[in-house]
Amino acid sequence: MQKVYSWACQIGNLGLWIIWLLIHFAVDLWYFALHIACAIESYLISSGILKRYKALDIDKLRYLAIVIESEEAYHIPAVIQLLQWLVDIGVKHVCLYDAEGILKKSKESILGKLNNATLFEEAGESNLLLDHKHITLEFASFPDGKEAVAKAANLLFMKYVKLGGSGKIQEEKIFTEAHMSEALRAVGCKGPEPDLLFVYGPVRCHLGFPAWRIRYTEIV
């Protein structure tokens, strides 16, 4: 009797195990199929056959920032390809950031390879509105973040010291968020706050992108 009971338990366990395996297999198969479908869709979009991005409404995206990890930043052709896609989608203003400034050093070659691309600092507003396929590029690196804030603070400190003799100046009046923003523009950090920030690389952090500018930026 005990033997029969033991056998029944073993068969029951075997049955449950097989059911579990089948469910596991079905779920794996489903995700595999989804992955294949996404890969095919990505290939079709990348090769220009499927133009789903035409239906994209990117009016809300006034300024896009892209953070690229330093090792990946050396792949300039890939960066140019990415920018080309962004031009096709209709993105008008892009800030490219990598901590070590590799993209900044390759600025000329990137601008040369893209049609209708200008530096953000040089572009005037009137030019931007006329050409649909025009893109402005800003290049940033780690010194444009914390170092720039320190420079902007120094600018304010010099102003504070100059006016300090009057006895009427209080720290709160010189050092405000608005004054800091103004000082940052004065030291060359003129870019606006991005609406969206893409991070490319194995990490999920913004790698020191100018912190003053990403208060409400969506990070993906």
Binding site: A153, E177, M180, C205
Partner: protein, 324 residues
């Protein structure tokens, strides 16, 4: 047997370890008993992982789970100071400082047809759970974004309720903080808080300043830009007093004056934002340069142990280069 233990489980020499091994089972997991003072004996039981391939003996356990506890149990006693970890969580790397943007309280209440205050009250419970988990898993600092500078623009009734909730929370938990040796720090523009709350905050910060087991930093009336600006104001006063030359101001000097300098670990290793939003909303802008970001879909009142575990496991899988 000890040689088959996970290498991360550190056992001091001349100590005894309690083990309940199950032989011939793949994907073994060791689970330390929790809620035990380090000086007491700990019992470690090995349980089969939920996703492991079953062996003949494991199949038996599916119908007779009690048998796994009786079968071949060997006992060796040990004492350890290692914190008890959840299944699947490794001892290293563990973030020393976790920051949380506690978002989604109002949506949580709205989805349930409850008043907004219910969402915030439920959020307080989630915070207590998180503090307990951090203490249990050896995380040293937790910073929570309780009230932003922008939140002052919310309806007055809501703001008043939040202030009273903060006041009640601080009053009720002060004894618990002292008992559990938790240090409380508050960052943000506290001059905007109601006077009674401001005094309460000063008192609890002062009372708990020597606690070293765990630090809870509460950001109230805080913004990242405000933090930077107030750091510059403090440096300006030192410049005025002749302690610093204007040209000597550098990044490291600014970092020393940020309000997050109240802790040994001012830079969060992991930032969690709940409710599915993908922004940092003006929180610790300077400090988050190399912080791993984790955006959770859960609303804050629903954020519990499982969700926190998911965030920590995600953190442990990441390769942090700090920009190098």
């Amino acid at each position: 047997m000890i040689s088959s233990l996970s290498p991360q489980l550190l056992i001091k020499p001349n100590t005894a370890t309690t083990l309940s091994p199950i032989p011939h089972v793949q994907n073994q997991r060791f689970k330390l008993a929790s809620h035990v003072c380090p000086s007491e004996l700990l019992s470690i039981r090995k349980r089969p992982g939920s996703a492991c391939a079953a062996t003949t003996q494991h199949r038996r356990y599916l119908l007779f789970p009690a048998e796994e506890e009786e079968e071949e149990e060997r006992e060796v006693k040990f004492t350890s100071d290692a914190p008890a970890l959840a299944e699947g969580l490794q001892r290293e790397p563990m973030p020393r400082h976790v920051a949380v943007i506690m978002d989604g309280n109002r949506r949580w209440a709205h989805l349930r047809g409850l008043p907004v205050r219910s969402g915030y009250e439920a959020g307080v419970k989630s915070l207590k759970t998180l503090v307990e988990l951090c203490c249990k898993w050896g995380i040293r600092v937790l910073t929570v974004f309780a009230f932003s500078s922008d939140n002052w623009f919310r309806p007055e009734v809501e703001v008043e309720f939040l202030m009273s909730l903060l006041e009640t929370g601080v009053k009720e938990e002060t004894e618990s903080f002292i008992r559990e040796r938790i240090r409380i720090s508050v960052i943000g523009d506290t001059s905007k808080l109601p006077k009674c709350l401001e005094e309460l905050v000063i008192n609890v910060v002062e009372t708990t300043k020597n606690n070293t087991r765990f630090q809870l930093i509460v950001a109230v009336s805080y913004s990242g830009q405000y933090d930077l600006v107030q750091a510059c104001q403090r440096i300006a006063m030192k410049v005025k007093d002749g302690l610093i030359e204007p040209n000597d101001v550098s990044e490291s000097l600014i970092e020393q004056e940020l309000e997050t300098n109240c802790t040994e670990f001012p830079y969060p290793d992991l930032l969690i934002r709940t409710s599915g939003e993908l922004r940092i909303s003006n929180f610790m802008l300077w400090q988050l340069a190399y912080t791993e970001l984790f955006f959770s879909q859960s609303l804050w009142p629903d954020f519990g142990e499982a969700e926190f575990l998911e965030a920590l496991k995600s953190f442990q899988q990441r390769c942090r280069h700090y920009g190098k």
